[in-house]
């Protein structure tokens, strides 16, 4: 397993190229091209702002206003997370040709899916920055140092789950269909459109079990809320968990690796 991990490092050039290819190919043929990376989250923001400020106004307390900004802090990382998982569930099957015909470390494919979506996440950040400037939110530079930590934790967690899902989907194709619904449930179980304080007291422990909760809160704490990053203990714990998830995911993937060429 660890030897395979080191060979993976040798393939970083390939991963880099494939991520670039993914980004290039995604919007090839569309008029706006690369700008879709900006417009997509923006449009999503409009939809949710419309629903929660025009159709259902007054749903959110003072502390999560301006609502659009609050929502954006959560939806950007969520999109990264959920797109990575739904893509990687499919990636080994759609890339079957590569696995069967080219000598090629299969884990590159889900990793590329995660990294390409991370690139989209980064491309959404300038919009977030624009909003921060527009609303004149004060940002604590020391608190911003936490930002890369949160990103790394999310990267590890997402990659671990992506590896696990991609390997299992080869054997159980049902996962693909199940995952869509699961991700919807997961989305509403994460404080993205609401804040943790709005959740009923006696159900908070359920939300606390959701690793994405702590990532979303961390993003909100650093980028949205004024004051020190109070969630760091949870974040560190989640960091440790993410490392475990990553290795567990990689372990399962490594175990099932030999069956891919025959099953896809």
């Amino acid at each position: 397993m660890f030897r395979n991990l080191t060979t993976l490092f040798r393939y970083r050039g390939l991963i880099q190229t494939l991520v670039a290819r993914d980004l290039k190919a995604r919007y090839r043929g569309s008029v706006l091209g690369f700008f879709w990376s900006f417009f997509n989250p923006l449009l999503l923001l409009l939809v949710y702002s419309f629903v929660f400020t025009v159709i259902m106004p007054g749903m959110h307390p003072e502390e999560i206003r301006p609502y659009g900004l609050f929502f954006f802090c959560g939806i950007l990382p969520w999109t990264w997370f959920s797109s990575s998982l739904s893509e990687s569930a499919n990636v080994l099957i759609s890339g079957g040709n590569l696995i069967k015909k080219v000598l090629f470390p299969a884990e590159v494919l889900p990793i590329v899916a995660v990294l390409a979506n991370m690139a989209h996440f980064f491309l959404g950040l300038p919009i977030l920055a624009a909003f921060l400037i527009y609303y004149r939110r004060p940002l604590d530079p020391v608190e911003l140092l936490w930002f890369p930590v949160i990103v790394v934790v999310q990267l590890l967690l997402t990659t671990g789950l992506a590896l696990l899902l991609s390997a299992l989907t080869v054997h159980f194709r049902d996962i693909k269909d199940l995952l869509g619904n699961l991700l919807t449930l997961w989305f509403f179980s994460t404080p993205i459109i609401y804040s943790m304080q709005m959740a009923p007291e006696n159900y908070r422990w359920v939300l606390n079990l959701n690793p994405m909760t702590h990532l979303a809160i961390s993003y909100q704490e650093v980028l949205f809320h004024v004051g020190p990053h109070g969630h760091w203990k949870w974040l560190i714990a989640l960091g440790v968990l993410s490392v475990l998830v990553f290795f567990a995911g990689y372990f399962v993937f490594d175990r099932l690796r030999d069956s891919f060429a025959e099953e896809v």
Binding site: R21, K100, K101, V102, E262
Partner: protein, 452 residues
């Protein structure tokens, strides 16, 4: 020279086949009975390779031949490391490039240029190395004008050429090739062969899986014949190929005789053919001749006063057979039976090729043999001293009829045989021939006469 480039020791590979539907249908019951683990065991296994061992020395071009489903591609995939054998070990010394499917990693939406980079990197080059070889690759693929168009607009030939060009320019120490030479036009194929020759000159190792025996004989230093996952022969290519051809002929033989019995059975409609390809005894009184005698439709008709009861084709060795070498002595033996003494009879013989063209036809009347009398059982043998037909499948017409054409027993295209030839000449008939050249015209290896 150090150890071998490829060392395959006792490799076996078993493919599992699950009866998928059954597996899912019984998942619930499996859980209830607690037999989930047992039910997840494969229902059937299919051994693709059974204990194959061989070594390919460095710089050797090694050919693997065998029929469809003999495990050639599985072997190549195992050597490439794409799939793993169930037992045995494979060691490969040096960088491998496998030409198994060309352009497997191409992304249709992006340009040929970008795909070259991605494919090259996928095959193990660095970006700089691809950069260095880029022009050469494009030129080799003959795609200078289209290199910036998205790959989805390429024709399949262009796609394959680009895939081949990238793969061949990876410059591996060990090159694995699976039947990919059938790409592009003649010129491109020649270019590919030149590239292989260059590989050989530079002492690279090549493992070639192919159906082209000619290629194996011309290019390979050693050959391996796989049959149903086992090594059937290994060694000098000419010897291995010859053994393989004999085996293929044998099985073709079986197929032809099977097909022949089927045809005979069909022509004896409703009467039930006797086993072993023997003709039915009951004459078909109502049998009618087809309107156009030169139209090749198989069948049997006639009154059977004089009956052809059996037909055997004999080769040079005197053994019955259906596959003959070009130039071999062949005899066609008909067993006949006259149900009453007859004074008016003609025996006819005709050869048709697979297109239904009559290659030759004659009868005893045309050759001015005056019938006198036939009674009871007898044998008629048509002796061909040298079968001068080009390679192909041929069918036989055999007949017994009256001088005026009244049919006793007419067997149209019921018997077939195959002619094999090492020379790939074309047409139908090969006349005895030689070449002669004046001294100013020279060929490599001396002006040898053609094999006529």
């Amino acid at each position: 020279m150090s150890g071998p480039a490829i060392d395959v020791v006792n490799v076996s590979k078993v493919y599992r086949r699950f009866a998928r539907q059954k597996q899912f249908a019984t998942l619930k019951s499996a859980l209830l009975k607690g037999s989930l683990i047992r039910d997840l065991q494969p229902d059937e296994t299919f051994p693709a390779l059974r204990g194959v061992s061989f070594q390919v020395p460095k710089g050797c071009t090694y050919g693997v031949i065998g029929r469809n489903g003999s495990g050639k591609s599985t072997l190549l995939k195992c050597v490439a490391g794409i799939s793993r054998p169930n037992s045995g070990s494979i060691t490969v010394d040096g960088r491998i490039s496998a030409l198994i499917e060309l352009g497997a990693g191409f992304h249709p939406e992006i340009s040929g240029r970008e795909n070259i980079f991605i494919n090259g990197i996928m095959l193990g080059l660095t970006k700089k190395e691809v950069q260095k070889r880029f022009d050469e690759i494009v030129e080799f693929a003959e795609l200078q004008d289209f290199i910036d168009a998205p790959v989805k607009t390429y024709s399949s030939g262009m796609y394959m050429r680009l895939g081949f060009a990238v793969a061949i320019h990876v410059d591996p120490e060990v090159l694995l090739i699976d039947e990919v030479l059938a790409v592009g036009d003649q010129g491109f194929t020649l270019k590919c062969l030149d590239k292989f020759a260059e590989f050989r000159r530079r002492n690279r190792t090549i493992l070639l899986v192919t159906h082209s025996l000619d290629l194996v004989e011309r290019f390979c230093d050693q050959a391996l014949w796989l049959d149903k996952g086992r090594t059937k022969a290994e060694g000098e290519p000419k010897r291995v190929v010859a053994a393989y051809i004999i085996d293929v002929e044998k099985s073709e033989e079986q197929e032809l005789s099977k097909a022949e019995s089927a045809r005979l059975a069909a022509s004896a409609k409703g009467e039930g053919a006797a086993p072993g390809g023997k003709l039915p005894d009951n004459p078909v009184e109502s049998g009618e001749a087809p309107a156009d005698m030169f139209k090749a439709t198989e069948g049997r008709w006639g009154t059977r006063e004089l009956e052809i009861t059996g037909v055997t084709l004999l080769g040079e060795d005197g053994q019955p057979g259906h596959v003959f070498q070009c130039g071999e002595a062949v005899r066609v033996k008909m067993s006949v039976r006259a149900h009453q003494p007859l004074e008016d009879f003609v025996f006819g013989f005709g050869i048709f090729n697979a297109d239904g063209v009559c290659c030759y036809g004659t009868n005893t009347n045309l050759e001015e043999l005056q019938p006198d009398e036939i009674s009871g059982e007898g044998e008629v043998t048509f002796i061909i001293d040298s079968l001068k037909l080009v390679e192909g499948t041929y069918r036989l017409d055999l007949a017994a009829h009256k001088l005026d054409g009244y049919p006793y027993d007419y067997h149209r295209l019921l018997y077939s045989f195959r002619v094999k030839s090492r020379t790939k000449d074309v047409g139908i008939y090969r006349p005895d021939h030689r070449w002669h050249f004046s001294p100013t015209i020279r060929f490599k290896g001396g002006n040898r006469a053609g094999r006529g």
